[in-house]
């Protein structure tokens, strides 16, 4: 009986591992791209390991469409790292007797133009993430909303605001801009 239970357990573990490896092989590159667009390459393997470790441990709760779920995990892992870095920086500044200096909440990738970097930096974290999920990750708003951890309606509002603000910053001609019709973003 014990042997039978052991065999069943081994079979389940094997299936679980196969499922995980399939998930890993299918989505590694997309998640990797997401991370590299938002973090230095030196952090890549740590972040990727953390993301897929969460996926391994919560494999049973991974959604039918895993990519937005994985990107959501990656977003939270990066946010945790960012918070930790900010806390450390704040502590260092306190120890040095400086209280007011603070780093930017977003470091633009080196490869994007200064004009666009300034425009993106002017957005709130959530608005920027909404815009980049669509523009860089190529997600439709419905899937991007799941990655951002909000409702589709909320996501559309964020995306709309972000696009409008960036268009203004880039001088994209507000006079020609049509009325904000969120329906065009519906997948």
């Amino acid at each position: 009986m014990a042997r039978r239970q052991s065999l069943v357990r081994m079979s389940i573990e094997s299936d679980r591992r196969q499922a995980f490896e399939k998930l890993f092989a299918t989505h590694y590159r997309a998640v990797r791209g997401y991370v590299l667009r938002r973090a230095p390459s030196s952090a890549l393997e740590d972040v990727m390991s953390d993301v897929f470790l969460v996926a391994w441990r919560r494999l049973d709760s991974v959604a039918d469409d895993p990519l937005p779920w994985l990107l959501g995990v990656a977003r939270r892992v990066l946010a945790n790292q960012h918070r930790a870095e900010r806390r450390r920086g704040a502590l260092t500044r306190r120890l040095q007797g400086r209280y007011r200096e603070s780093g930017p909440d977003w470091e633009p990738p080196e490869m994007i133009s200064g004009e666009l970097a300034v425009a993106l930096a002017s957005l709130s974290v959530r608005e920027r993430e909404a815009l980049l999920l669509v523009a860089w990750e190529g997600l439709e708003p419905g899937r991007a909303a799941r990655a951002a951890g909000c409702s589709a309606a909320t996501f559309r509002v964020r995306l709309h605001r972000a696009r409008r603000r960036v268009a203004d910053q880039l001088g994209e001609g507000t006079e020609n801009r049509p009325h904000p019709r969120v329906t065009e973003e519906t997948p």
């Binding site: 030196s42 393997e45 897929f52 450390r88 860089w136 801009r177």
Partner: protein, 323 residues
């Protein structure tokens, strides 16, 4: 196209990470390392979140070939030179085992210097001095557990100056349970480990690859001699060998290194560029990294009876660093 669509298109055009097709060997190697980390983590207590040490991000990678196991722990924070434009050997070649670490050591460490190391290396036979102490032992926690390293037995090897795009490095060697590891320190730390039995015979040799050249260093067993860096044109340069078996040489673009063992056997170690061989393995990371290449003759390259020359493939690790 509306102006808002134009915004999306504009941002898309400036996407900093476009997917190359097909997946390159570097990315494959990186994926293998990540998968290995995840699956090996599940057998250990949870280790979520990057290890942050003194403001540095620590990454763990692994590479294995023949009798060599290498682990890299890197703390970020130095002006990283670009990786040398050397071809990386695909890690998925036949015969390339996935990076395999030894079973996690359960706190056992050698309490005294392993006799084999003491016998083979003058460096380990001499009394320990203050300079031998590792100033970065805290960053070695993972490696210590994995290989059973005892930092109290460490020995200082040498310092390499900053050269040709590579940061200055300070190098120690640390005995463990069946392994001996080199520890590199710049602003962070990296380790590369090999089996003790292997190191006792063939020494511990590596090269640091900078943007425009490399430096070779090593600790050779007692009796080794005639160390030479071989250049692309076939000429060779003699490398001074310290009485304790340590050498270090900034070599330019060397194609390899050779030395004579105590028994007269010639050991040829090709540079990383010559790596793509069935039982060699190189793992590298993208631009923005410094490569710490570890070159060692492999077990399978031991000479048959009567042979006088070993032409050994190299193995290497690459440790990524960042701003």
């Amino acid at each position: 196209m509306t102006s808002r669509d134009h915004v999306i298109a504009r941002i898309s055009r400036e996407n900093p990470v476009l997917r190359p097709v097909p997946q390159g060997p570097l990315e494959r190697a990186e994926a293998e390392r990540v998968l290995h980390r995840v699956l090996s983590s599940t057998a250990r207590p949870p280790r979520l979140g990057g290890r942050m040490l003194g403001g540095a991000l620590v990454a763990l990678g692994a590479a294995c070939t023949g009798g060599i196991v290498a682990v890299a722990i890197v703390a970020a924070g130095h002006p990283a030179p670009e990786i040398a434009s050397r071809p990386a050997s695909p890690t998925s070649q036949p015969g390339h085992a996935a990076g395999k670490l030894p079973p996690t050591n359960t706190g056992r460490v050698p309490q005294s210097m392993p006799a084999g190391l003491e016998r083979s290396f003058a460096l380990f036979a001499r009394p320990r001095t203050a300079a031998d102490a590792l100033p970065i032992s805290r960053t070695l926690a993972d490696t210590e557990r994995q290989f059973g390293l005892n930092p109290r037995l460490s020995r200082f090897v040498t310092s390499t100056p900053a050269f040709r795009g590579a940061a200055a490095q300070t190098i120690w060697v640390v005995p463990g349970m069946g392994y001996v590891c080199e520890v590199f320190k710049q602003s962070g730390a990296a380790t590369a480990c090999s089996r003790t039995s292997f190191a006792e015979t063939h020494g511990i040799v590596g090269s640091i690859v900078g943007r425009n050249g490399d430096a070779w260093f090593g600790v050779l067993p007692q009796g080794a001699r005639d160390v030479r860096v071989v250049r692309a044109d076939g000429s060779s340069v003699s490398v001074p060998l310290r009485p304790d078996g340590v050498f270090v040489q900034s070599s330019g673009q060397a194609t390899g290194l050779s030395y004579l063992e105590r028994n007269g056997t010639t050991v040829d170690i090709p540079a990383a560029a010559a790596v793509p061989r069935p039982n060699a393995r190189t793992t590298t990371t993208p631009v923005g990294s410094v490569a710490v290449h570890r070159a060692m003759p492999s077990r399978s390259a031991l000479p048959p009876a009567g042979a006088r020359t070993i032409t050994a493939p190299a193995s290497s690790i690459t440790t990524s660093t960042g701003p």
